[in-house]
């Protein structure tokens, strides 16, 4: 695989091209772009014939090892690649470690192993096991084994442990990678850890920049996949900016997770090339349709507003206020700590305990309570008799053929088609958002210089 930077621009972001995939010689993808989140090897709710109604593009799939792990026994025994096994051989595969939309259970660390939670429970993955699995799965891109179990509240000790385990594993995986006839033709992506500690980030980035890998994944920024969109950009800005300074500019940079679109724009401006579809998927999962307007002139200006098409001007201002007030995130970011003894951050353990007790209740009502300034909830009874599409001019199948009243009915009656229609619209909207970003970059390259 090859990544080629087309423009280097420090004001708007960068345009690049991914191609020369060994297995897919005609594949070409422009960046900034999206990896398509999969669970169990499928884009949630979408069969291949429906994906074709969404797009005829060859999609790059993000395949987290934890949610496909249960199938690795069959993949190995059948001696097929992960692409062949999941029935999507013409798509590109990027094998990662943790599902970006779920919560990483914290506090399960062992020296030199990564802990993942599969369908069958806790699995300890050693670096040797990881490379055996990659050898069998044969993904087009993959990351080396990493311990990304850090977030804004992690202690220095935890951060250092995560960085050490990850860097040591990388060293091992890199050697295996270059000596394996199968893997050396695939793209190895190096995960950069360091939590929210600038010094550790710098050390990791510098160390990994010595190896000729295709790209880097900035990992270890969050633990709770379902609330990434609440993380204010300013809390990650310095970390990303600082990390990127120490890796070669011409290499691919990837960040995973359901960051809010406004943060995505800022990350693109910092020079990140690839993201994933966690955000549209999580919105759909919660009955929400994306309705933000990205069709704005100065997409990368400091005070750009991706307004919600359903909100009046006033309401959008209220959202803006709330977005700026997201410091409460800090205290909530560790909702899923299961084991306080192992949790090195004792300061917040009381809050953690409380959160755990109400977790189940929250899960039951969370679907109706999930709010995002970028979407509307189609559970809302006000759409009961709204016979208009989600977005009037949207060209997706859902908006061309179905109304909000119908999607509302499907959600209320718990019919599976509701999720299918929301996924189609949300993915379409998000892909269009990225298409618009690329066009915008192309148009404004000159101006930004």
């Amino acid at each position: 695989m090859r990544f080629r930077l087309q423009t280097i621009n420090n004001i708007c972001g960068r345009l690049g091209i991914i191609n020369e995939i060994e297995r897919l010689p005609t594949f070409q993808m422009e960046t900034p772009n999206l990896l398509f989140y999969t669970n169990g090897g499928c884009i949630p709710h979408l069969t291949h014939d429906v994906i074709l109604m969404l797009t005829s593009d060859v999609l790059p799939l993000q395949i987290p090892l934890d949610n496909i792990y249960h199938a690795t026994e069959a993949i190995i025994k059948l001696d097929v690649s992960v692409n062949t096994f999941i029935g999507l051989p013409e798509y590109l595969s990027f094998c990662t470690l943790q599902d970006p939309t779920t919560t990483v259970k914290q506090g399960y660390h062992k020296e030199n192993v990564a802990t993942i939670w599969s369908k069958h429970g806790k699995q300890f993955i050693t670096k040797a096991r990881h490379m055996e699995l990659m050898e069998s799965l044969k993904p087009d891109m993959y990351i080396s084994l990493c311990d990304g179990d850090t977030n804004i509240n992690s202690s220095k000790k935890r951060i250092l442990n995560s960085a050490r385990t990850t860097n040591e594993a990388f060293r091992y995986c890199y050697d295996q990678h270059v000596s394996s006839p199968t893997l050396c033709k695939k793209a190895l992506i190096a995960p950069i850890e360091g939590g929210y500690d600038l010094t550790t980030r710098e050390l990791c980035a510098k160390y990994l920049s010595n190896f000729p890998v295709v790209g880097y994944l900035i990992d270890g920024l969050y633990s709770d996949g379902a609330s990434v969109h609440k993380i204010p950009f300013h809390s990650v800005e310095k970390i990303i900016d600082h990390t990127l300074k120490y890796i070669p500019v011409e290499r691919l940079r990837i960040i995973q997770g359901a960051w809010e679109p406004q943060s995505i724009l800022k990350m693109i401006k910092l020079g990140v090339d690839l993201f994933d579809t966690s955000f549209p998927c999580l919105n759909a999962e919660n009955g929400c349709a994306l309705v933000f307007n990205f069709n704005v002139e100065n997409l990368f200006s400091e005070n750009v507003q991706l307004v919600n098409l359903y909100h009046s001007k006033n309401e959008n201002n209220i959202w803006k206020k709330e977005l700026n007030n997201k410091n409460e995130y800090k205290s909530n970011s560790c909702v899923s700590n299961r084991d306080n003894k192992l949790n090195e951050n004792n300061k917040i353990s009381d809050g953690v305990q409380f959160k755990n007790n109400v977790n189940d209740e929250q899960n039951n009502t969370s679907k109706k309570n999930f709010v995002s300034p970028y979407s509307i909830s189609l559970y809302d009874t006000k759409y009961f008799d709204d016979f208009t599409p989600i977005i009037e001019n949207c060209l997706c199948l859902t908006c061309r053929k179905h109304t909000k009243a119908y999607v509302h009915h499907l959600l209320i009656t718990k019919e599976l088609l509701g999720m299918v229609l929301l996924m189609i619209h949300n993915l379409h909207h998000y892909m269009e958002f990225f298409r618009y970003i690329r066009e915008h970059l192309r148009r404004n390259i000159g101006k930004c210089d």
């Binding site: 669970n39 169990g40 090897g41 499928c42 884009i43 949630p44 709710h45 979408l46 069969t47 291949h48 014939d49 429906v50 109604m53 249960h70 199938a71 026994e73 069959a74 025994k77 059948l78 097929v80 096994f85 999941i86 029935g87 369908k119 009961f384 008799d385 016979f387 199948l397 053929k401 179905h402 109304t403 009243a405 119908y406 009915h409 499907l410 209320i412 009656t413 019919e415 599976l416 088609l417 999720m419 299918v420």
Partner: protein, 397 residues
């Protein structure tokens, strides 16, 4: 404008089997011309289990069934009227049939009380008592706007005998009269009466004859998808189909196992519906010519074949048993893939039946089909007898 006399249903026979009672034809309905014999998948709440209308068209599904009871509760007849009918609400441009709701009343709601006025039941979404009368059922079905609507019938459990059966039979006829009076859209919605009479030959005969006196476009046979013995089932079907007018379609309600469909076609039935293919998909099961396979079973873990090597559906073209096994039941996609395959299986079966009748090969088709189903065991007595009754002799090769 071209067809001022356009009727809600025009049935044209294309071919009849020269051995058995099987026939193939076309039903011209308001929204689509449906080829018979036809299987109608059940889309209870205005959606077919996660499948897009476009996908249904791709597998050549021509008519689906919706349920007046469920749709009457959610989203309700007023909204459906506002939407311009269910076709527009769900964006399905082919034919629809609605069930009257009587069956759901009795099977879903244990507390339903049936009186001459109608079915009284406790609303599942509120504390109030509700009453579904024949008039109300038709009002809801008129709002839904399906091409074919069903009368409200007095449904009884299959194991009931005695005077209650007689009451149900005659009450169903009285309710038919009320439905016909209440029906406001006879020009674009065809109403079918439902033959009742449980497993009492005398009552079934009376019920059939009473319905034949009415001005209707087709007939349904009800009360035959319960637990009654197959030996009785086929006799009840034949009893009615023998005397029903040839030029009108006949529909056996709730029948959907491939074997039962093939036998009923031989007995002269044109329409079928059943939740089975979609329901069994939700439980991880796929239909194959010899029956069904449960993909949850561990033996499919390393099975890298499609569900059915012969099948040309989008699932079998791309996905394997091993992959399906790995995503059942975690991923909704597994359910969609199995639903598509099962519907394709069912729809292909109907196409084969129609083709064989057209080519005058239906008896051969039946024999081949039976030999596949019974490849490892002796053919059931009821199958042999039912086919013999319509001149298909399985013993003679």
């Amino acid at each position: 404008m071209t067809q001022l006399t356009k009727s809600s249903l025009k049935f044209t026979l294309i071919s009849e089997c020269n051995v058995s009672n099987a026939r193939t034809g076309v039903m011209n309905l308001t929204h689509y011309n449906v080829e018979t014999p036809v299987f109608m998948p059940v889309g209870t709440q205005g959606t077919l289990k996660g499948i897009l209308p476009d996908q249904l068209e791709q597998i050549d599904c021509q008519i689906i069934l919706a349920n007046a009871y469920h749709l009457g509760v959610r989203p309700g007849p007023d909204l459906l009227k506002k939407a311009g009918g269910l076709h527009k609400f769900m964006n399905w441009n082919r034919a629809l049939l609605t069930d009257s709701g009587g069956f759901q009343m009795v099977s879903l709601l244990k507390l339903a009380k049936i009186t001459e006025k109608g079915v009284k039941f406790k609303s599942p979404y509120g504390a109030d008592d509700c009453m579904l009368t024949p008039e109300e059922s038709i009002r809801i079905q008129n709002a839904i706007g399906a091409d074919i609507i069903m009368q409200l019938d007095d449904v009884i459990a299959t194991n009931i005998t005695g005077s209650r059966v007689e009451e149900s039979t005659f009450r169903t006829s009285r309710w038919l009269d009320r439905c016909l009076v209440a029906h406001e859209r006879p020009h674009d919605q065809a109403i079918f009466p439902i033959v009742q009479g449980a497993i009492d030959e005398r009552l079934r005969l009376i019920s059939t004859q009473l319905h034949m006196e009415k001005d209707v476009k087709g007939y349904a046979l009800g009360g035959l998808s319960g637990g009654e013995s197959k030996n009785i089932f086929w006799k009840m079907v034949l009893l009615s189909s023998k005397i029903l007018p040839k030029e009108k379609p006949r529909y056996v309600m709730g029948v959907g196992f491939a074997l039962d469909i093939v036998i009923c076609c031989a007995l002269g039935i044109d329409m079928f519906d059943c939740v089975f293919p979609t329901r069994t998909a939700r439980f991880g099961c796929a239909l194959i010519p010899s029956g069904q396979i449960n993909l949850k079973l561990n033996k499919y873990k390393f099975d890298f074949q499609p569900i059915d090597n012969e099948c040309k559906c989008s699932t079998c073209k791309r996905y394997t048993r091993a992959y399906l096994h790995s995503i059942i039941p975690m991923q909704a996609v597994a359910c969609h893939l199995l639903t598509i395959h099962n519907l394709y299986f069912q729809i292909s079966l109907m196409r084969s039946i129609r083709e064989s009748i057209k080519r005058n090969m239906f008896p051969q088709f039946v024999k081949e089909f039976i030999s596949k189903v019974y490849s490892h065991r002796p053919v059931s007595k009821w199958v042999t007898e039912a086919l013999k009754a319509v001149n298909i002799n399985l013993e003679v090769v």
